[in-house]
């Protein structure tokens, strides 16, 4: 099984999970936890270990983080490494809705190679970042 695991500061990871589930429908292969304000690294470490309990040694992990730094990011990677799961983990940073939704919807398709899958997730995430203008508003109202 391929798990999508979201980690962040605040409650961003849980929030993004809730938004993705509204699009994808309910499923149990998306996990999330976060380092909340005032929480120590040890508390986050306990949270993360509990979160990944269902993951078996033959599963794969797509780990998404809010940013490329911070205790939640480094602690998650350390724990995955300790548990022998890091070799089966692909790590993405800067998570947003388009990239996580793309990963969720495409991870179990066999027609993409792993490099093609990674490239698709990254490109969908970046393409989703845009400036929206009045012309686009008119286009949206007419076309969608």
């Amino acid at each position: 099984m391929k798990y999508v695991v979201l980690v962040s500061h605040g409650v961003f990871a849980q929030g993004l999970k809730s938004a993705v589930l509204m699009m994808s429908g309910k499923r149990d292969d998306i996990l999330s936890t976060s380092l909340e304000d005032g929480m120590g690294t040890n508390d986050f470490s306990d949270r993360f270990k509990a979160l990944i309990q269902p993951i078996q040694s033959n599963d794969e992990i797509l780990l998404f983080s809010d940013i490329l730094s911070g205790s939640s990011f480094t602690t998650a990677i350390e724990i995955l490494n300790e548990q022998g799961l890091f070799d089966r983990t692909t790590v993405f940073t800067g998570m947003n809705m388009p990239m996580v939704l793309t990963a969720v919807l495409m991870k179990d398709n066999d027609y993409l190679t792993q490099p093609e899958f990674i490239e698709t997730v990254l490109s969908e995430g970046k393409a989703g970042i845009s400036l929206f203008t009045v012309e686009a508003v008119n286009f949206t109202e007419e076309e969608l």
Copy 2:
């Protein structure tokens, strides 16, 4: 005053706000609300109108959305338009931590023109989206 307003599905917007506040410190110029699962568009509309109550006609708005579609996105824009605020609004889609944090930290600096500010927010958001590899882990452990 320049407000950063986050809208989304689920509770993504509130979650991202909580993460940004952990980096920026407490501030009252970041607003967030969302269309939660099972909520109607009218309920979201009421939420959004209440959210933007503090915003005055001479304020500016940086609106961030999870995706370039959906009821939360279109309803927010419709309400801003009805209230005569859309001309003072810049709309970004695909929100992630690097782009919102960049906007929060740079919006009140005078040394960037508006086009430069927009380009910086977009480019920081896209640059934050990356694949993290083992080489990068080693680099992080040594350098950070």
